[in-house]
Symmetry: C2
Subunit: 110 residues, 2 copies
């Protein structure tokens, strides 16, 4: 395996790892609807603010979200709004796992 491919795999992995946590997935789903400040996301997640802040830091470093300070609140939004198209595929896997007839990405409801 050459270095270029290794770098490629590593880059993709970083993004997937950042998404692969229930609280971070929840945050992404909510941000798909509208931007939110940390305190709103904290309520939704139901964990300590510091924990949510660290989750947001993970998402930020992965390039998934952008932050903007307004007043003394920090608002987060998705950098690439289409990120949830992703989940069409995840759902396909879950459906197949349940023995449902295979549906390919975007053909089922998310």
């Amino acid at each position: 395996m050459d270095a270029i491919r290794k770098a490629h795999l590593s880059a993709r992995t970083q993004v997937l790892k950042a998404m692969a946590h229930p609280s971070r997935l929840l945050i992404i789903e909510e941000l798909e609807k509208e931007e939110r400040c940390v305190c709103e996301l904290t309520n939704m997640v139901g964990a300590d603010v510091s924990t949510v802040s660290k989750h947001l830091s993970v998402l930020r470093h992965a390039g998934i979200v952008l932050d903007e300070k307004r007043g003394n609140q920090v608002y987060y939004r998705l950098r690439v709004p289409c990120i949830l198209n992703f989940f069409g595929c995840v759902e396909s896997v879950l459906a197949a796992r349940n023995g449902d007839p295979a549906v390919c990405c975007g053909k089922g409801e998310v």
Copy 2:
């Protein structure tokens, strides 16, 4: 957050976590081209067979791959071939992170 949503998030997370490793991503990419036995995948990944076998076990439990024993080899294939549509989105995130103009899933090359 209700129990249903929690279960939903957890199920999706399981799939994403299974994908979020360079070796497992490599395996998925290769299986998208054609089915492979463990020894072939082991060569491609360049790790111990036992390590690759455990990666395959993770992918199997997540519902991403299927295995079939033929002779004394075990062949793996993707359960949901569209899984790589995924990466259109991952690439969009990576591109945005690099400051490239935003391209949404499936509109850029993977």
